[in-house]
């Protein structure tokens, strides 16, 4: 097999993967019409994806806000502009750091677990058993995960935004020396509605991406423990890449 054939084969495989992931996403969204029947599964996934991810997201968010305040605060103080720290912290957290960090944590914690779980089910014939029982695996397994992440990532992002800004406020007060009033006045006066909703748009897109990529990789795991490990790694890598690529394009569209 020559280099051109190999490269062509890889490109075709990649396109097939992207196409398969998109089709799986739309099939997962379509089956929401059965959400009442599967409400317990959706709720379970929401707990797993959202509530159980909350502590890690909070820790990352608070330190992100603190670092932004610290890095910008000292520089701004040199030009007597420390009063604007609130604007900078709020804009960076709400536009970028809140949605992106929450998504990266969820991709690492939840997406990889989804791929591993579905991959294990695939190699232990559980998916075949569902098919043999005339139960559509997309409706039974993918739909609850897609909708759980669609609902929960924006909620996690809102909490990440709030805690990140709070962390920035604490550092501004304790290490830069500006008052809470000045900080939060900067936040409230300069934060636009657009900053919030673009962050939410990102969270929705990231949530759907993580769910679709992870479920697709899990359901297409090849035989054995090695196959499951490979599916987990691929879900993580492709989720991270997709998050960063979509982040750029959404930012470019709105700003």
């Amino acid at each position: 097999m020559n280099l051109i054939e190999k490269t062509g084969g890889k490109i075709l495989d990649s396109l097939q993967g992207v196409g398969g992931t998109i089709v799986l996403l739309f099939r997962g969204l379509y089956w929401f019409k059965t959400a009442v029947k599967y409400r317990v599964s959706i709720f379970d996934q929401m707990l797993l994806c959202g509530v159980e991810s909350m502590p890690v997201v909070m820790v990352v968010a608070i330190f992100s806000g603190m670092v932004v305040a610290l890095q910008t605060g000292h520089e701004l103080a040199r030009f007597q502009l420390e009063g604007t720290i609130g604007n900078i912290v709020a804009a960076s957290i709400c536009r970028e750091m809140g949605p992106v960090f929450a998504a990266i944590i969820v991709a690492g914690r939840v997406g990889s677990a989804m791929a591993a779980q579905l991959g294990t089910m695939k190699v232990s014939e559980e998916i075949d058993a569902l098919e043999a029982m005339a139960i559509n695996p997309v409706r039974y397994l993918v739909m609850p995960r897609v909708w759980a992440l669609l609902f929960m990532l924006p909620i996690l992002t809102i909490f990440a935004d709030l805690v990140g800004i709070l962390g920035g406020g604490m550092v501004s007060r304790l290490q830069i020396g500006i008052s809470y009033y000045t900080f939060f006045d900067g936040v409230m006066n300069n934060l636009e509605i657009k900053d919030i909703y673009v962050g939410m748009v990102k969270a929705v897109v990231f949530g759907l991406t993580i769910a679709a990529v992870s479920c697709y990789q899990g359901l297409n795991a090849k035989a054995g423990a090695r196959g499951v490990g490979r599916a987990t790694t691929r879900s993580l890598v492709f989720s991270f890449l997709s998050i960063l690529i979509f982040d750029y394009f959404i930012t470019a569209i709105f700003y």
């Binding site: 232990s124 098919e131 043999a132 005339a134």
Partner: protein
Amino acid sequence: MGGEEVLRGITLEVKAGELMVVIGGSGVGKSVLLKHIIGFLRPDSGDVLVDGVSIPNCSRKELYEIRKGYGVVFQSPALLQSLTIEDNVALPLQEHSGFPDDTIREIVRDRLHWVKLRGVERKLPSELSGGMQKRVSLARALVMDPRLMLFDEPATGLDPILTAAIGQLIVDLHARIGFSSIAVTHNMNLAYLIGDRIAMLYNGRIIEVGTPEEIRRSAEPLVQEFIHGIPNEGS
């Protein structure tokens, strides 16, 4: 199968209410045959007819309807590890029957009694032995009162005593319900115990079909080599 020809012009007829056992060495395509009947795989040519319906020509929706009349026992128990035994057995009913929860629980208890399991409803599959998981898998396959049962190596991973117990269970349940059945196995003791007829698959073709007695007395050297465990040149 990945460019490799597994089944070559196979012809096999199973009569209503018959327990057909397909024997053959590892890798001859026994499981592939079952996958064609379930509709997981489509033949390159030829047909698979179940009650006169062509499985390869069914749409996905039609296949799901047909599969509601199947009971499939996989080589591994293939139980959903995150669900309790009760939920595993109840799953097909919850999905397809529309029965109230109480009725479903009643049917589940009943089917678990059929396979001689009691007090395991609240346990997870990982808390049961391999033999018990196999019986749960059998109970799950029976819960929709199937017309066709498919067994993929039902004795895999079981000791001779458990194999005989599972075999006897299949015979008893068959007598009770009267389903048609295809079991694939390379375990001759099980094949003799449960089979009304036995078909030998070799090199992608059925080379012999007959009652257990006819198979025992077969003049076909390949059949004799297989049932007596004598390696041949192709092994």
